[in-house]
């Protein structure tokens, strides 16, 4: 089920709210948790009921592994064996569903072999719930504090809680389970609900009104990248940069908002990444929980920065290579990870040798640095979005294919979606103004405006917000039909 769907807004979420707070009101706390687990599974299974089998099996197995590892009388050898088995099963299932065909097709083309492809249906959000469970299994192996207290329902709810199930953030058990147990969070809280409703609507607007409009332009441009020309290639690149930002941050805002309405604080995953001054800074702001996961479970175990400069850079490259692979089974994602890794290492070398970012900050350096970072991120998104590395290369060659403004108006008009067309009946020349205004607004919002987490941190309800929120909510509902799916749920 999508957040941006009629069934979610008009049926699923109201029923979940009523059921959850209703059961908690009568102090049926375990029943409330079970209700939420069933609702989350329904939310997940709504895409494809077959997915339920995978997620339920995965949750049950991982919980069993954890219990065995946490038992006092389990020997060290058994604990280690179970731990390795759990790692193999989790990573193996991720590989099987997500990377098997990619791996085999590369083997086939390399060795001219003919191994059959499986063409498996990728279970949505498998990368997210697998990583969440991996972190839990690793912490169980380490016998971290409190983890032994969790019962099956605590664990199942931590993995399946629907706001973060299909596209993150990758939350940890110590962030979520205590909140589900906290009695002070069981009662409906109007202040939290108001902030949550505001965040949800804000996120919905980012996704439905902005990201999906850019998505139409991007899809058209990337259908045939060989005919773009300079201006259209730049427009398409910027459009994708904004699409993925508003799409992903919109999703996170909605997850945050839904959680907040239920008194659950969902970990911040997005902190205005296009304000980043360096690429190192960018990765502290973009998909924060993924960076955190890789830092804790890959970078630090590899030695982090404790084993010398060269080893640090090698570790960084490994993390970004894995990040690229995590994002998808295509060489484009791997290359995207590699170029980000290289940029990260180069930034650190530059800073280490000149202190340009850490010691000599001034406005001119900051502006230049921000600009270079933004341009790099834009170029890297082209690799990320392209269907193949060859397409990405063709796209880059278009920057030098000067064709003036040929087809530019047609390309810009693709963002003139039905919602804006409706306004076009009322505002003269709106079809010409709107596409340019959308690019300008997207840039301004991502560079200068407060992000949603900042907005709801000290949320103060006002009459203006109480009028604008329903206006935006209704605008979004009116735009649901025909809108695309979220970009990040395939990763």
């Amino acid at each position: 089920m999508l957040f941006n769907s009629y069934i979610f807004i008009f049926a699923f979420f109201p029923i979940v709210l009523l059921g959850y707070f209703g059961l908690n009101h009568f102090q049926k706390y375990t029943a409330a948790k079970i209700f939420l687990i069933i609702a989350s599974l329904y939310f997940y299974g709504y895409f494809n009921w077959w997915y339920l089998f995978i997620i339920v099996t995965s949750v049950v197995l991982n919980y069993c592994f954890s219990r065995i590892m946490l038992r006092g009388k389990t020997s060290k050898t058994v604990r280690k064996t179970i731990f390795i088995l759990a790692l193999i099963l989790n990573i193996g299932s991720l590989f099987y569903f997500k990377y098997y065909d990619f791996f085999i097709s590369n083997i086939n083309s390399l060795f001219q072999s003919d191994f059959p492809l499986l063409h498996l249906l990728l279970p949505l959000g498998i990368s997210f719930f697998t990583f969440q469970q991996l972190s839990y299994v690793i912490d169980s192996y380490k016998r971290e504090e409190n983890i032994a207290k969790y019962n099956f329902f605590d664990y199942a709810l931590f993995v399946t809680y629907f706001p973060q199930l299909i596209a993150g953030p990758i939350v940890t058990h110590d962030e979520m389970v205590p909140q589900f147990a906290d009695l002070s969070k069981k009662k409906f809280n109007a202040d939290n609900f108001a902030a949550g409703l505001y965040a949800f609507t804000f996120g919905l607007g980012k996704k439905v009104v902005i990201a999906d409009a850019f998505g139409l332009l991007v899809n058209q441009a990337f259908t045939d990248v060989s005919e773009l020309g300079t201006v259209n290639a730049v427009l398409a690149m910027l459009a994708y940069t904004f699409q993925i930002y508003f799409d992903f941050s919109g999703y996170c805002d909605m997850a945050t908002g839904i959680g907040k309405m239920m008194n659950i604080d969902i970990t911040m995953n997005f902190n205005s990444p296009y304000k980043a001054l360096t690429i190192v800074d960018f990765w502290k702001r973009w998909h924060i929980t993924l960076t955190r996961f890789f830092t804790k479970y890959i970078y630090i175990p590899l030695g982090g920065n404790r084993k010398g400069t060269v080893r640090t850079y090698v570790n960084i490259m490994i993390v970004f290579l894995v990040s690229g692979i995590w994002h998808g089974a295509n060489w484009t994602f791997i290359m995207w990870g590699v170029v980000h890794g290289i940029a990260n290492v180069l930034t650190r070398i530059l800073d280490k040798t000149t202190g340009v970012f850490s010691k000599r900050q001034n406005k001119a350096i900051n502006v230049t640095s921000w600009f270079l970072t933004f341009v790099f991120v834009n170029l890297a998104w082209v690799i990320f979005r392209a269907d193949s590395l060859a397409d990405a290369w063709t796209f880059f060659t278009q920057f030098f294919h000067f064709t003036g403004f040929s087809q530019t108006m047609e390309l810009l008009q693709t963002v003139y979606t039905s919602g804006f067309q409706f306004l076009g009946h009322l505002i003269p020349k709106f079809s010409v103004i709107m596409p340019i205004a959308l690019f300008a607004f997207a840039f301004f919002a991502s560079k200068f405006m407060k992000n949603t987490n900042q907005r709801i941190a000290n949320f103060k309800p006002s009459m203006t917000k109480a009028i604008l929120t329903p206006c935006m909510l209704v605008w979004c509902i009116m735009s649901f039909a025909g809108v695309s799916t979220f970009l990040y749920w395939n990763f």
Binding site: F422, H425, P461, M463, C471, M478, F480, A481
Partner: protein, 348 residues
């Protein structure tokens, strides 16, 4: 302002906005989901896929033209003249029998059934998927389930493309004439040159088509239709085998599919003619074969112009080319003999 007040005001305003928008869409009801046009508005019918469902649900009619783009160029006035009474056109380009079942299901639920349902038959229908939609259909319109009406009531595309359009065309007195509804704009551009420009001649293939597999699909598709023929015995179903051009048969000859298609034609004739409430028109007379051989009548390999459409209706009206369980084989043989002996090279 307190959080409580914010929540209350936001939710109430959201509900009010949604109710107002829904009220406008329900009152104008441009897709005729709830009623025939109110306030003296003329119905504005411009979109087959979106409006056919509403027409079936709420319009009064005696005859319905179902089918594909091969039936789009019939004029409503001529259909009325053929069958008598009022007719509606419910064609859909790129349709399939599976797609049509959505319309037939609604037809079944009508209290007052039409007297006649007419439909074209062609290989495109035989070989379409029998268990999935061949082309997208707004299925939320093809039922009576109020829980999926949100997509209709709160949808900017509906508001722009239909509600606003209905009001404005009525205000400006420029509602399109229903007589020519869905008639292809290309009807003025038919001709040999155009037909050839849309045709890409395939390489000759020696591969055999799996006739058994093909016939199994044909039977499944026909069964989808015949269940409604059986369930609605009071309706007369009129089928006609669409006279596709010799360009189409050139393609099939080169792809080595003609013998298989002959089997499919025989199967379709046998199945359909076995029902009492079905009329099947199969034309293989000299005049029709001449029409099929003259590319000036076509815009591509299959689609014929308005003049030919009128000719088909005339033949249906005069019961020309009616085949029965006893004589269908003979007519099919004539057509396929003609195809086999045709000099396709002379066309190019």
């Amino acid at each position: 302002m307190s959080g409580k007040k914010f929540v209350r005001l936001s939710l109430i305003l959201t509900a009010v906005f949604l109710v107002l928008i829904a009220a406008v869409n329900i009152a104008i009801d441009p897709l005729f989901q709830y009623h025939k046009p109110w306030f003296g508005l003329e119905p504005v019918i411009t979109n087959e896929r979106y409006q056919n469902a509403g027409v079936i649900k709420h319009f009064d009619f005696d005859n319905a033209v179902l089918g594909t783009s091969l039936s789009e160029n019939f004029l409503i006035s001529e259909v009325n003249d053929t069958f008598g009474g009022n007719s509606v056109k419910l064609t859909m380009y790129g349709s399939s029998i599976y797609n049509m079942t959505y319309q037939l299901e609604l037809m079944k639920k009508r209290e007052v059934k039409p007297k006649v349902i007419m439909c074209d038959m062609s290989p495109a229908l035989f070989e379409a998927p029998n268990d999935t939609l061949k082309n997208p259909l707004p299925t939320f319109l093809y039922n009576y389930n109020p829980f999926d009406d949100g997509e209709y009531l709160w949808n900017f595309s509906i508001l722009n493309d239909f509600t606003y359009q209905t009001v404005m065309l009525n205000v400006n007195h420029s509602v399109p004439d229903y007589n020519t509804v869905f008639v292809s704009e290309e009807s003025k551009n038919f001709g040999r040159e155009k037909a050839l420009s849309h045709y890409s001649r395939p390489e000759v293939s020696s591969e055999m088509v799996d006739t058994e597999e093909y016939l199994a699909l044909v039977k499944k598709n026909l069964a989808l239709f015949t269940q409604y023929i059986e369930e609605m015995p009071d309706i007369e179903f009129v089928f006609f085998f669409a006279p596709v051009s010799m360009l189409y048969w050139d393609e099939q000859t080169r792809l080595n599919r003609v013998p298989t298609l002959k089997e499919a034609y025989l199967e379709a004739c046998k199945t359909l003619t076995s029902y009492q409430n079905v009329k099947v028109h199969f034309w293989a007379d000299e005049e029709m074969l001449a029409i099929m051989s003259d590319l000036d009548n076509y815009v591509d390999a299959c689609h014929y112009n308005g003049q030919i459409s009128s000719e088909l209706l005339r033949r249906i009206k005069e019961n020309i080319g009616l085949v029965t369980l006893q004589n269908y084989q003979e007519q099919v043989d004539i057509l396929f003999r003609y195809i086999r002996s045709f000099n396709f090279e002379g066309v190019f």
